[in-house]
Symmetry: C2
Subunit: 327 residues, 2 copies
Amino acid sequence: MTSHQPSGEETGNVVALCGGVGGAKLALGLYRVLAPDRLTVIVNTGDDFEPLGLHVSPDLDTVMYTLAGIANPETGWGRTDETWSFMQALAALGGETWFRLGDRDLATHVERTRRLAAGDSLTAITDEFRRRLGIRARLLPMSDDPVRTVVHSAQGPLPFQHYFVKLACAPAVTGFEFDGAATARPNPVLHDAIADPRLRAIVICPSNPYVSVDPMLAVPGIFEALDASAAPIIAVSPIVGGRAIKGPAAKMMAELGVTPTPAWVAEHYRALLDGFVLDRIDADMIGRPPVPCQAAPTVMTSLADREVLAREVLRFADRLRRHDQAA
Amino acid sequence: MTSHQPSGEETGNVVALCGGVGGAKLALGLYRVLAPDRLTVIVNTGDDFEPLGLHVSPDLDTVMYTLAGIANPETGWGRTDETWSFMQALAALGGETWFRLGDRDLATHVERTRRLAAGDSLTAITDEFRRRLGIRARLLPMSDDPVRTVVHSAQGPLPFQHYFVKLACAPAVTGFEFDGAATARPNPVLHDAIADPRLRAIVICPSNPYVSVDPMLAVPGIFEALDASAAPIIAVSPIVGGRAIKGPAAKMMAELGVTPTPAWVAEHYRALLDGFVLDRIDADMIGRPPVPCQAAPTVMTSLADREVLAREVLRFADRLRRHDQAA
């Protein structure tokens, strides 16, 4: 990854919906091409859990570390320049070590847990963390109320991280459930961010539809707020050439009897979408999804790739808005 | 510190009462000269507290790390071969860092906190930790119930660690209180350890009388169990030449209008003592305390010093027992 400076030349406010690694890449692209304080990222908290009694928010942390430039590029989770003394000592004491927590990463979880116990909201804690890490974008957990993704599988119901990390996504999935979603309230500032009349675009990042984006849409009020927004809503396909760029999305689709294609993803979000971005290698599928499509290079390897895709998505949103106004 | 092998030639069971650093030195000496599994150390938990929401037991950890050979010899607290990534990251997030927790040390606190929350007792957790660290002595927290030492001072009442670490013992003390002691139950196996008819000696280690030993004696049943024991009870003076070898004991005495002498310490424990060990430089005070006294080299610099003092204390106990039987 090169270290060229962010351009920040793009204007307007943008909202992104985001899960972990894949989504965070585009969130970083948007963050870098937009002027400071213009980006709001709404992040899935359905895979939050409490290993060792600590409140870990994997997606929130991945996005936060990514935007702060301290994400570990090799692992796809945790922090760069990490040490592992804690885990070594924990193993010697007989503690559970299947969920790896680095020494620096641990500070996030310990301090978050302490502040939650003291009555602070996840939103307030996240906002302080991102400010202290020098991030000039808003990071909003989808809700301050607990929502826990359960993966139904051949091995029975599994808490998400148990399925994802401990079992390395091995069990065949049969469905998903978002415990607590029905009574969860959306993040308290989410509605205002989405209803912003100056909003340039809402971007559903290339995250797992089942376990990164659906938990957000399951919180009553979030779908409705998105649906009511005047800004164009664009999803970027996490499926490229029949495979997921990162994570188990394609494997899940296959297990659920779905052929993993961008068209299926577009159909999945259909009720919300104004436009859909798929990879250039899937350009032959343009026309099949029931919304305007745009082909773009969606496999983000370099920092420049992230920025190129971010600009493409914003240009596409602008065209959709003009088209909409002309109609 | 040399690394010569423990001799382990001494027979019989021994119980030691112990606070932090000073007491842990003699506990280590006893541990090394006694055959394996012969030593039981009852440890003060009055200075336990919950920084960052984690249950820290400073004295228990000092004794555990000392007996396991992993105590930090420079600081007098924490572990050797430590790293500090967690604290650095915590500071960057705006967390409280006045109580320094190393990355390896943190594993003890996180796992203890998790297990306490799961309903395990401090005794059971401590026993598993010491076994996993290869310690063949029993470590008994004085109680599984919370007791919290409060230091009354010119600045008002202060939680012990606030006084000790954050304020570096600066405020003048006016008294002490052991919150929770009145309703705390002694460690569940403490009574059997002390009532053991084969017990060779009970040793009150050279710890702070006010804040290391008195909290133990304040738990109903502990004084009574000690008083009823057939074994000789010997205290080792933490005051040498009018000064405390370690910590604020002498400063506290002066602030409370007491001249810091071994004689005062012996008087403080008088109701329990069968014998008292003071340093050779205080040998002129022999005869002033109202119990049999023994002069010995009590300033333990090397590992050999710890073992020499441990043997002296055991010999003294044996002489007191024979004298008692002859009388």
